[in-house]
Amino acid sequence: MKSVATLILLIVTPVSASAIDIFACEPEWGSLATELAGDKANVTVATTAFQDPHRLQAKPSLIAAIRRANMVICTGADLEIGWLPLLLRRAGNSSIQAGNPGHFMAADYVRKLEVPKIIDRSQGDIHPQGNPHVHLDPRNIRRIGIALGDRLREIDPANAAYYDSRLADFQSRWNESIDVWEQNSADLAGIRLASNHRSFSYFAAWLDLNIVATLEPKPGIPASGAQLATLLEQLSSNPPAAVIRTPYANERPSKWLSTQLKIPEVKLPYTIGGADNVSDLFALFEESIAILRELAQ
């Protein structure tokens, strides 16, 4: 009798039934989805800041989450090419397949950097669609946020007004923050940095940072001895301020360069959860800028 009563209660309780399920490939999109959809969405994030989004281990919970999802939010631009197509095929869920409103690829809404002019095998593990690490330019987050708001309204029209007001609120807070960040980081312009992989190109383009060297001359391929020697020779007369990397990157190459050039090795948060105090998109940019400012002093 009690279970029948619970069942009836479940059926008549509208809150959980009306929430949409969102599957986010990376923490930054999970965070953006939460900003815009609030408690109208249950968000599952597939990777953490310490996992390379190029690769993913198959776990039962991921398949379960994508099967019940009304929407997937991923970077696209081939970042998840190694696992997302497999996961989508395994989902048996037509609403999130490519071409449907439930399939949202963030990189489709921004102009990408480092798009190769010639797609050539000699260029390394390059993404023909350009550098996919788009979320580190907050102006891209703004554009993607608008597109995501449209998409949420399309998927869940009953709550359209709610999404509109959350989007408006997010955009006004976000635009204010961008102004503050740009003011705070004016003195970072031109700072010279070395990087492990091309993960920070958008961040550098936004703040006018000067990434003078990448430890993987071709993305995804470790440098050869000759390349490292040339790199050292170029950098030793005028060493960069630091070598930066993501939390998921192997620390060995950056530690090596840091020792050789006697410059600090710095882990930037890169995404939500990449540092203890980075719990949302706002904190991500605040913390990244704070770390670099400390370096510049």
């Binding site: 198959a58 776990k59 039962p60 379960a64 190694g82 696992w83 095929r89 095998r121 390059i126 995804g220």
Partner: protein
């Protein structure tokens, strides 16, 4: 277990069954000949075949990838068959050398051609939970052919027959479940049942150990939400150990 949980593990369970179907009988032979690491070597050469094809400018897609992989695996099987005939006393060491050579040549080729790297990962790091029914069907056909060859025409193919059949079986299985599970399915049931004299009983017991390990592993994977391949390998080892102890002290 809920319907969606069953949905998640059923294709994986079928993949397990397919791999076990060929690897349990092959494993007893591998153990008898003392060439345990042959599966690692063959799988690595199959991967090398894909990279080489890519480097030579074939746009390796779909069945072309399979063709390159199987061709390279067969070539390796043929060479290892020759060395086994000629230098049986150092065959295990030669297999080890073949493995590191294939792996390192792969790295060198990839230095100029990273796209093959994605194919290599697909080939060597198959993940059992990603398996879907469309992949299972061709794999089932190949496994049926392998088993038929193993029980019907192996003797006519003579010595090379074993290596050729093995190359086929490993190339297909590694893409479904990855190299660790292939190794486990090949060696662990064969080890657990090595005290059983009668061949039919031994193979049947090997299947039982393998299937039990798989089922246990998949259930644990769901409960603990951990990567399936690694959990299955652990479970298969535990089941095998219990089975071997039971045999010994019965």
């Amino acid at each position: 277990m809920t319907a969606s949980e069953i949905n998640i593990i059923v294709p994986a369970f079928f993949a397990c069954l397919l791999v076990l179907s060929t690897h349990v009988p092959l494993g007893t032979e591998v153990l008898r000949r003392g060439i345990i690491f042959i599966d690692l070597a063959i799988a690595q050469v199959a991967g090398l075949g894909v990279i080489a094809a890519d480097t030579m400018g074939w746009e390796a897609e779909g069945w072309m990838v399979q063709f390159a992989a199987v061709t390279a695996a067969m070539l390796a099987a043929f060479i290892l068959h020759l060395t086994d005939k000629r230098y049986p006393e150092i065959q295990e060491a030669l297999i080890g050398v073949a493995f590191v050579l294939a792996a390192t040549v792969g790295i060198l080729l990839l230095a100029g051609n990273p796209h093959g790297g994605e194919h290599l990962k697909e080939l060597l790091v198959g993940q059992i939970l990603w398996v879907n029914y469309e992949q299972l069907l061709p794999a089932a056909v190949v496994c049926a052919l392998v088993l038929m060859a193993w029980y019907r025409i192996r003797d006519r193919l003579q010595h090379f027959g074993f290596y050729a059949i093995f190359a086929f079986a490993v190339t297909v299985s590694v893409q479904l479940v990855g190299i660790y599970m292939v190794f486990a399915c090949l060696i662990i049931p064969a080890l657990a049942t090595r005290r059983i004299e009668r061949r039919g009983v031994r193979i049947a017991s090997g299947y039982a150990v393998g299937i039990a390990g798989c089922m246990l592993g998949l259930i644990l994977t769901l409960r603990a939400d951990l990567p399936a391949g690694a959990v299955i390998v652990m479970c298969m080892a535990v089941v095998a150990l219990l089975f071997a102890l039971l045999l010994k002290f019965r």
